[in-house]
Symmetry: C2
């Protein structure tokens, strides 16, 4: 059968907004572009989709190539298709956001690749419409995290309640009463309390918890109420 001969064909890119959390601050992984146009400007991780791969495969490949990251939480977000968003040639970009445990990758990223963790509050000017992508990604994770337990993807496999609370407070840019916070998270049944403590953050030490992976996967689609009235917290 013949091809669709009269139609235009376009470059299709994938761009990844990669979030990390170092225990205090939410960060994005950015790279200095190594090729034209906009060489040496800050950019999201991106690359063109190849003929042989699906969009998801492209996103995973690009993330792996540019940062070494593999097997991380990656979710398609939105497709950007303004005709002039790339000045060289029309490119449609399918954006993904990723949530990674920053500690696993911190060293290898900055040495092997020209990628850097930048605090979300101090994102430099980015190329093309990457700024818009970042804004949308911030909204998207806040929205999703208000309903689903995705933020655990940003933490190491063992974490403390104070760490978890700090993470929620950063994402939602608010402060939460710790008694109510712990009641709510424990009520989800997602956490398993361990016997040892993290002594790094305080003299007394805080108990480690880990995810109950069974329940985590089973309840991922269910709505969960860690942040009440999240819409009143927009900013």
């Amino acid at each position: 059968m013949t091809k669709y001969s009269k139609q235009s064909r376009f470059l299709v890119a994938v761009d990844c907004i990669v979030f990390g959390f170092d225990g205090e601050t939410l960060k994005l992984l950015l790279i200095k572009r190594s090729f034209n146009p906009e060489k040496d400007k800050w950019s999201l991780m991106g690359g063109f989709v190849q003929a042989s791969e699906s969009l998801d495969q492209a996103a995973n490949r690009i993330l792996k190539q540019l940062t070494g990251l593999e097997g991380v939480y990656l979710e398609q977000m939105y497709s950007f298709g303004e005709t002039n968003r790339d000045p060289i040639e029309r490119t449609i970009s399918v954006s993904y956001f990723a949530l990674v445990d920053i500690h696993k990758y911190e060293k290898q990223i900055s040495t092997d690749f020209h990628a850097e963790w930048v605090p979300l509050k101090r994102i430099p000017k980015l190329i093309f419409d990457h700024q818009d992508m970042v804004e949308l990604a911030k909204k998207s994770i806040r929205y999703k995290a208000a309903l689903h337990p995705i933020l655990f993807e940003l933490l190491p496999s063992r974490f403390t309640l104070p760490q978890l609370q700090t993470l929620y407070e950063s994402v939602f840019n608010t402060s939460i009463d710790k008694r109510n916070f712990s009641k709510r998270v424990l009520a989800t049944g997602l956490l398993i309390k361990l016997n040892d403590k993290d002594k790094a953050g305080s003299k007394r030490g805080a108990y480690y918890y880990q995810l109950n992976m069974q329940k985590y996967y089973a309840n991922f689609q269910a709505f969960i109420n860690i942040i009440p009235n999240p819409d009143s917290l927009q900013n």
Copy 2:
């Protein structure tokens, strides 16, 4: 400056999942394809993105061309990019869902175009991965409608509470106590009660309501609780 010479370029399509509600049943607008491949098979509204238009513009154009629909609620949903999803040539499809007032368009659609409203429960086999798109669209509107007042887009500008309730009951495939339902919807402050009644649906007649457009637009992003525990209603 030169183009990105070594990269592959792809066809990019837009496919629209168009929902309508006739007062009793949720329906999708489908068309019989008028061209190959898969001529005469059932399909979603789709078409290729042109060089001169953005994705949103393409979606609006295609909807207009194939159905005459214009100015309807249209929201980008997800991009489908499996390499072999179109057997003729690789095509990346950006899907949109639309919510329309079925009465406004019912006649003009079936006469001017080869489009047809089909009950959601009786969707025929569709071409390519359009079945997947429909499944995702059903999930998407249910998810969104659990949190935001989008379902009003499916109703005429004047509607009764019984109509609204039937709509929610169809979307969530459940039944709701009408006392609690009316309390909840009226508590949103989104509805204005009118002085006349719809006498078509019953002898007594039910009061018409209309949307308070101010509040509707202002509160669109806010979370709203018309359906409690929507996750317990999945199916």
